[in-house]
């Protein structure tokens, strides 16, 4: 190809672009530093503690806070989740059980009665005739001590004692632990006479349960 035939646009073109070497102005660098300073401040004040569960930028201003701090676990929410997973297949989500097969938890004097007995029932399971709300059931409930931790049993029972028409005091995981210590060697499920023989003494953390109106029969 010869130059004469080359397109005019190519001939009148300047060389390919080059770089000048002017320095970055000082005022610009200063401005950028000021921006960076502002950015640090903004992150400091509106980072919500860098937590995944803070959506309001004004809520927590000061740096990182571990996720568990300041956030009390709600035993009712957790208890409900565990109840649905473990107990509802028999006692139903309604807490009413199934007539003749599974006794109700709603309004039951075992549930609303002394926490020592309630915790013992759940830890060891029950077998043989059991009178709940003037109906005698004769079935088996498995033991839960091998499956659920103290904290989980406490959450389930706290939920059960405050759901439906029940209005009894919460049960702490310490009280479950204390009760579990008494039954470590027990392998078989409890029977009704054994349950009723358990002293009605209150476990730590459930002091007000004995005042429950649903539990007079136990006194």
């Amino acid at each position: 190809m010869d130059v004469a035939k080359a397109h005019g646009a190519l001939l009148r073109e300047h060389t390919e672009p080059r770089d000048g070497a002017a320095p970055v102005p000082l005022w610009l660098l200063t401005f950028f530093l000021a921006l960076a300073f502002w950015a640090g401040g903004y992150l400091f004040f509106y980072s919500g503690g860098f937590r995944g569960d803070v959506f309001n930028e004004n809520q927590i201003a000061w740096g990182y806070t571990p996720p568990s701090a300041g956030k009390a676990k709600d035993p009712i929410t957790l208890g409900k989740r565990l109840y649905v997973a473990n107990c509802a297949s028999c006692h139903q989500v309604t807490g009413l059980g199934q007539p003749g097969v599974y006794p109700p938890l709603d309004g039951s004097h075992f549930v609303n009665g002394p926490s020592s007995r309630l915790v013992a029932i759940v830890l060891n399971g029950v077998t043989g005739p059991l009178k709940v709300d003037n109906t005698v059931f004769n079935n088996n409930m498995p033991a839960w001590k091998g499956l659920l931790k103290d904290e989980q049993i406490a959450q389930i029972l706290t939920y059960v004692r405050q759901e439906w028409s029940n209005q009894s005091a919460p049960i702490s995981s310490e009280s479950v632990a204390a009760q579990r210590a008494k039954w470590t060697t027990r392998a078989d499920p409890l029977t009704e006479p054994e349950i009723l023989a358990i002293p009605t003494e209150e476990l730590p953390g459930a002091a007000s349960a004995s005042a429950s109106p649903a539990a007079p029969a136990a006194h």
């Binding site: 080359a6 672009p17 770089d19 000048g20 320095p23 970055v24 903004y42 992150l43 860098f50 959506f55």
Partner: protein
């Protein structure tokens, strides 16, 4: 002004080299440009339909294919993937070849890429109109269309690597950094988000975060770098001056790379995502001032003393219009990320004004500028009509100005009213109508300008008119630059 020493081969040998490079680029680049203009035409028709439907909801409702919910994403995808991306790829190819100072090889890879990409766009738009959109904003193409785009794009990236290996040794110019950045960023963004949102969708509000990570990065890490690369080439090239400062170029490039990918979260301010994510994106958005100001100073200082060239050179006029819009749209964007302003402007037409300022006034105008420069060199024919170019420029410039002003003012009023619970929602909707009418009108301006360009494009491909010796200039030829 001090500058790095220029390579000084003889001017003639230089021109011959360039002629060989341009000839080698002809087919692939024109293929991308032609398809870009094809989709720009249809994308704009979808835009006009969608715009009219906002003021006249009864318009064209008989067929499900033309309902707002389909026409609007058809517009976005046609202009983003049909127009903007092929235009950007075409410009990137030509700039790469020119700046590598070597003729383009492996044109077949690029031709295959163009065919695959356009097939993907056609399938995708068809799917959207047929009601098969994924309904993820910016990623409405179903996966069977997206995969075509992805493979087509991968070809372009591979080609760029091959091209770069065959370059003539020497300084790597700033435009090339941006092109390389973009050619790797885009497939990464597009691939990852398609996998995480469409193929194996993640759960919950993380979806929104990923969605906007993509939605904003496709602007900032794909379209923006190519347009900046083009401006970095066109401005010094047409003026015959070195770019003002290499150091500002570096600062601008790396600051963009660092901050842009954090920006997406500012679309979710006030939403159910952790506030630190929002705050981090707000900071990154404001920090974008660094690359933007660095780039703006670099362009401006290069232009100083040569503004009169804007009167004559079409390529320069469009490019500088785009570059100035880049500064404006970016500063506006940084301010919109601030919680106090965002509270008012979010979910209003203001945002739409902002996005058109970016995609049209900045990106599209810069691409037009590049095309005005590149195409005559590829077809070895001058633009047939200065009148058509002038018509294009003034229709586009006034159209986009009217659009941005009406949506911005209308959007602020809308936002203030929405913040007042005493005003019934429907009243606010009705009161946006005049602004939306203005937007439809401005869209018609843009459309007519594009028709002028399309006509020029067809005429120059046909080598219509008499052969011109000099460039087609807009004003009196005080300086012979094109």
């Amino acid at each position: 002004m001090t500058s790095f020493p220029a390579p000084t081969p003889s001017a003639q040998a230089d021109a011959l080299d360039r002629a060989a490079i341009d000839a080698s680029c002809r087919v692939p680049v024109l293929l991308f440009f032609a398809s870009a203009n094809f989709w720009l035409f249809f994308g704009s028709i979808f835009a006009l339909l969608a715009s009219i439907k906002l003021t006249n909801p009864e318009f064209l409702t008989d067929s499900a294919w033309l309902t707002f919910g389909r026409v609007r994403p058809a517009h976005l995808n046609a202009v983003a993937y049909g127009w903007a991306s092929p235009a950007a790829i075409g410009v990137a190819i030509w700039l790469m070849a020119r700046l590598c100072r070597a003729p383009l090889r492996h044109a077949r890879i690029l031709i295959a890429a163009a065919l695959l990409w356009n097939l993907g766009v056609a399938v995708g738009i068809g799917a959207i109109l047929a009601g098969q959109s994924t309904s993820v904003e910016w990623l409405e193409f179903p996966s069977y269309a997206a995969i075509l785009l992805f493979i087509g794009y991968a070809f372009v990236t591979v080609w760029a690597l091959l091209m770069f290996r065959e370059r003539r040794p020497g300084h790597v110019y700033v435009s090339q950094w941006y092109i390389f950045g973009a050619l790797f960023w885009f497939p990464w963004l597009y691939g990852v988000t398609n996998l995480m949102l469409i193929v194996w969708p993640v759960q919950g509000s993380v979806q929104a975060i990923i969605n906007w990570w993509y939605g904003h990065n496709v602007l900032g890490l794909w379209f923006t770098p190519i347009a900046i690369a083009s401006a970095y080439y066109m401005i010094p090239k047409i003026l015959g001056k070195p770019i003002h400062s290499y150091y500002l170029s570096i600062l601008g490039f790396w600051a963009l790379a660092l901050f842009y990918s954090w920006n997406g979260g500012h679309h979710l301010i006030g939403g159910p995502i952790p506030s630190w994510v929002q705050s981090a994106s707000i900071i990154a958005s404001v920090m974008m001032l660094i690359p933007v100001i660095a780039t703006a100073i670099n362009f401006h200082m290069t232009m100083v003393g040569s503004f009169s060239a804007l009167r004559t050179s079409p390529a320069l006029r469009f490019t500088v219009f785009g570059a100035m819009s880049y500064t404006i749209v970016s500063v506006q964007g940084s301010s919109m990320a601030l919680r106090s302003l965002n509270k008012i402007t979010h979910f209003t037409h203001y945002t739409i004004g902002h996005s058109h300022l970016g995609m049209y006034a900045f990106f599209t105008m810069t691409m037009f500028g590049a095309m005005y420069y590149i195409i005559p060199r590829l077809v070895r024919w001058e633009w047939p009509s200065a009148f058509l170019i002038k018509a294009h420029f003034w229709l586009a410039a006034s159209g986009i100005a009217i659009m941005v002003v009406s949506l911005t003012v209308g959007g602020v009023l809308q936002g203030l009213e929405l913040a007042d619970p005493k005003i019934p929602f429907l009243d606010i909707v009705v009161r946006t109508r005049p602004w939306l009418h203005a937007r439809s009108g401005s869209g018609a301006f843009l459309f007519m300008g594009q028709l002028a360009f399309l006509l020029s494009f067809i005429l120059i491909l046909l080598r219509a008119g008499r052969r011109r010796e000099g460039p087609t200039l807009l004003g009196d030829a005080a300086s012979r630059r094109s």
